[in-house]
């Protein structure tokens, strides 16, 4: 995008950057400390954790293998199931929300239809409705429909993402020229072919961004699945780790301590998929994240 072009044009080294780089180094340390703590401490067994060694350095025996084995076998291997659940919910919810947002954003940006203005202002209003306010009534509605404690109870509410529609609308408006669409129509392409073959390829960066944002919000969701699910085999990893944490805190000395090492490793493992997604899709989202804030 234009950002990288500007970056390259600037002179690479300027005097007076060293102090700023030192500030940056301190910031990096601050932002990475929790990760470092988790990486170090997930190598310890409970005596290493509670034995009073340094909290920010490895204990004498590094026990990743044993902790991994415990993490994936504890409670009949429930942790692996939680990870798969998280992936499934994030995948279904993320893809669904993205498809809906692309379609609706395109509709709002490229057609002047009856009711457009009203519908669009309602959409903008909806961006400001806090999603947690919907959790309790949705739960009661779903329980009357027999949907609670199923994967749909988690997936269906995540399909709603008004902000994604707004982002797609802004992006479509700027990235798909009307002239291009008219040219396709003159060549005899129908409305849906125009959308699929002319508009869609131009929307890839925005689609990746919206997909990534929806996958992240679904993967990170806690309140909704906490409320909706009671069967722990359906839990996503966030709710599962929360459950373990509760158990470990409650039963402190009585067997709770051994749980902490797998909670710590479980936390580490649960963040790896999204970090990989962000690192590998960098060139897409860096351009896309700004859509909403720029005219």
């Amino acid at each position: 995008m234009s950002a990288t072009r500007i970056e390259r044009r600037r002179p690479l080294r300027k005097p007076g950057q060293l102090p700023l780089q030192i500030v940056l180094a301190f910031l990096v340390i601050y932002f990475l400390i929790p990760f470092w703590w988790v990486i170090v401490n997930s190598s310890k067994n409970s005596s290493g954790l509670f034995g009073g060694g340094s909290a920010l350095w490895f204990a004498t025996d590094i026990d990743y293998v044993e902790n991994f084995r415990q993490l994936f076998t504890y409670g009949g291997g429930i942790y692996g199931r939680w990870l798969l659940n998280s992936a499934l919910y994030a995948f279904l919810g993320g893809i669904g929300a993205t498809v809906l947002a692309v379609l609706a954003g395109y509709g709002f940006a490229k057609y002047r239809f009856a009711g457009r203005r009203a519908a669009f202002s309602i959409l903008l209003g909806a961006v400001m409705v806090p999603t947690t306010a919907l959790v309790i009534p949705t739960f009661v509605l779903f329980s009357q429909a027999g949907l609670t404690n199923t994967i749909w109870a988690v997936v269906l509410p995540t399909l709603l993402n008004p902000f994604a529609v707004y982002l797609m609308h802004v992006y479509v408006r700027d990235a798909v020229p009307d002239e291009l669409m008219d040219a396709a129509r003159v060549d005899g392409a129908g409305e849906f072919r125009t959308f699929l073959q002319v508009a869609l390829p131009l929307l890839r960066p925005a689609m990746v961004t919206v997909l990534l944002l929806s996958v992240v919000s679904s993967w990170n969701n806690y309140f909704l699945p906490l409320v909706m699910l009671s069967d722990n085999r359906l839990f996503p990893v966030t709710v599962g780790i929360g459950l373990w944490e509760g158990t470990a805190s409650t039963y402190g000395a009585a067997g709770g301590e051994s749980l902490w090492s797998i909670i710590i490793l479980g936390s580490l493992v649960s963040v790896i998929p999204l970090i990989i997604a962000f690192l590998s899709l960098q060139r897409y989202w860096r351009g896309g994240l700004t859509i909403g804030s720029l005219k």
Binding site: V99, L100, Y111, A119
Partner: protein
């Protein structure tokens, strides 16, 4: 005969408009259905639920706004609201200042290390709030955290961020850590989009680096700042995940009704009082909506969102 011929183009035009309308609604419709089912219906239902009260004797009865009257005189709810308002007032300026400062630094420093730092500072955004809170909970912990070790090395007792007195700051740190990077990326991208010839012109006119920052950069990223403020406000007022998770680690410092959302959760799912829970949810939603709407309206001229 003549009338039908004269009418044909108009009919055709109208049918073309109808066809366009139908196509547009085919695009917007799927989202529209989800919108009705997952937003309008639950909101309406919350309002409906909130107008009833369940009593042990006499079953459920209609009380109209009775639950709201109860909520707005209920010290547990009001304390929660007061906490999130106070928390937002402290958190949002700090968070915005930090993310703006980092974005400005990254806009000036263009080394490879700066690019690496940008990515690392953004990283916490990819972490679930639950895990972020848990990680900081570990760091704060007297059992396995480094803070206690660090102060013990100097023969002092470290601050306990999980205690009743300091939990406010403990949470402040968790949320800042989690979101500053995301806001920084938005601001950074807005800064990168500024036409560099503006800086050249300003330098020729004798402007210093500080003047360029204050007079050109910050005013030009104002729309992004407004957007961030709105996100932060909506997010903080519905505070739930972090205090809920730290509750287990911070024995006694965080009560079950710490924030309005936690209170609604407690009412609905621990006390099975869905009507009152729905009333609290709806009241909180309405408060957030009105606050944000007023704010958007006040900053409409400078913001790009909504204008």
């Amino acid at each position: 005969m003549t009338t039908t011929i004269a009418a044909t183009p108009r009919v055709r035009r109208r049918s073309k408009a109808l066809r366009e309308n139908a196509i547009a609604w085919l695009f917007v419709g799927p989202f529209g259905i989800v919108f009705l089912a997952m937003l309008i219906l639950p909101l309406g239902f919350a309002l409906y639920l909130s107008m009833f009260q369940k009593a042990l004797i006499g079953g459920t009865r209609f009380v109209f706004l009775g639950n709201y009257a109860k909520a707005f005189t209920d010290p547990a709810f009001l304390d929660g609201v007061w906490f999130v308002v106070r928390f937002s007032l402290v958190l949002i300026p700090i968070q915005m200042a930090i993310s703006l400062a980092i974005a400005l630094i990254l806009d000036i420093v263009t080394t490879r290390f700066a690019r690496f730092a940008r990515l690392m500072i953004f990283m916490p955004y990819a972490i679930p709030a639950v895990i972020g809170a848990l990680m900081w909970g570990f760091l704060y912990s007297k059992n396995f955290g480094p803070i206690a070790d660090f102060f013990a090395a100097f023969g002092a007792t470290g601050p306990d961020f999980l205690s009743r007195g300091l939990i406010f700051y403990g949470l402040l740190n968790v949320v800042t850590w989690q979101w500053a990077g995301y806001y920084m990326i938005i601001l950074f991208a807005a800064l990168q989009a500024i036409d560099p010839t503006l800086y050249e012109a300003a330098r020729i006119d004798g402007a210093s680096q500080w003047q360029i920052i204050l007079r050109i950069k910050i005013p030009l990223v104002a729309p992004a700042l407004v957007l961030i403020l709105v996100f932060a406000l909506i997010g903080t007022l519905q505070f739930f995940n972090e205090p809920q998770i730290l509750r287990e680690l911070a024995a006694g410092a965080i009560p079950a009704d710490f924030t309005p959302n936690m209170y609604a959760y407690e009412q609905a799912f621990q006390l099975a009082n869905y009507n009152y829970g729905a009333a609290i949810s709806f009241a909180l939603g309405a408060v957030v909506f009105i606050c944000v709407y007023i704010f958007m309206f006040a900053t409409r001229k400078r913001g790009s969102f909504l204008s």
